[in-house]
Amino acid sequence: EPEVTQTPSHQVTQMGQEVILRCVPISNHLYFYWYRQILGQKVEFLVSFYNNEISEKSEIFDDQFSVERPDGSNFTLKIRSTKLEDSAMYFCASSTRGGLSEKLFFGSGTQLSVL
């Protein structure tokens, strides 16, 4: 069964450093998302992406964050200058369509630790 893959599974970085989290969505999917879950807290929406542009973003997704689909297969989340509070599990997800009934397929996540 096709799946969303995320690399790396764990990322440790120093505060103030840039990190790029990578995702390969399911090949025929058109809509892409990033969510995150801080330890002990809810899964939170960050951003949705369609047709090479952001379709919606949350308040969390400030200027320090950016997303890109640099080629036909990868979808990346960049955090320019990491803060301690960015430590979380980051999940990439994709879906075939953006319609209301569309379910999301999630990757296994990247655990980001900012020291």
């Binding site: 998302y33 899964v43 379709s55 919606e56 949350s58 209301l100 569309e102 999301l104 397929f105 996540g109």
Partner: protein, 112 residues
């Protein structure tokens, strides 16, 4: 502002019995509700969903009930199996289906 709440952090049931997981929401603009299951070290996996125009949706052992007037939904698993042991998230979405608001999750343990 917790728009989606799962008041029970954990639930334990015996194998073969029914598991009932509950979820409440406050935002009347939500049109679609989903349940995801999550195992440790994995991402959430879609389980079942329901549109706000329905009050019940069934898929095998899983049934979701929606009470719009009470802003409440529940997931019934019957019969429960040990492999169902996982964290279950209720999620709700509005116009942008991909922008789901998740509840805190309920950890279900099914004992053999």
């Amino acid at each position: 502002d917790q728009q989606v709440k799962q008041n029970s952090p954990s639930l334990s049931v015996q194998e073969g019995r029914i598991s009932i997981l509950n979820c409440d929401y406050t935002n009347s603009m939500f049109d679609y509700f989903l349940w995801y299951k999550k195992y440790p070290a994995e991402g959430p996996t879609f389980l079942i969903s329901i549109s706000s125009i329905k009050d019940k949706n069934e898929d095998g052992r899983f049934t979701v009930f929606l009470n719009k007037s009470a802003k409440h939904l529940s997931l019934h698993i019957v019969p429960s199996q040990p492999g169902d042991s996982a964290v279950y998230f209720c999620a709700a979405s509005g116009a942008n289906a991909g922008k789901s608001t998740f509840g805190d999750g309920t950890t279900l343990t099914v004992k053999p």
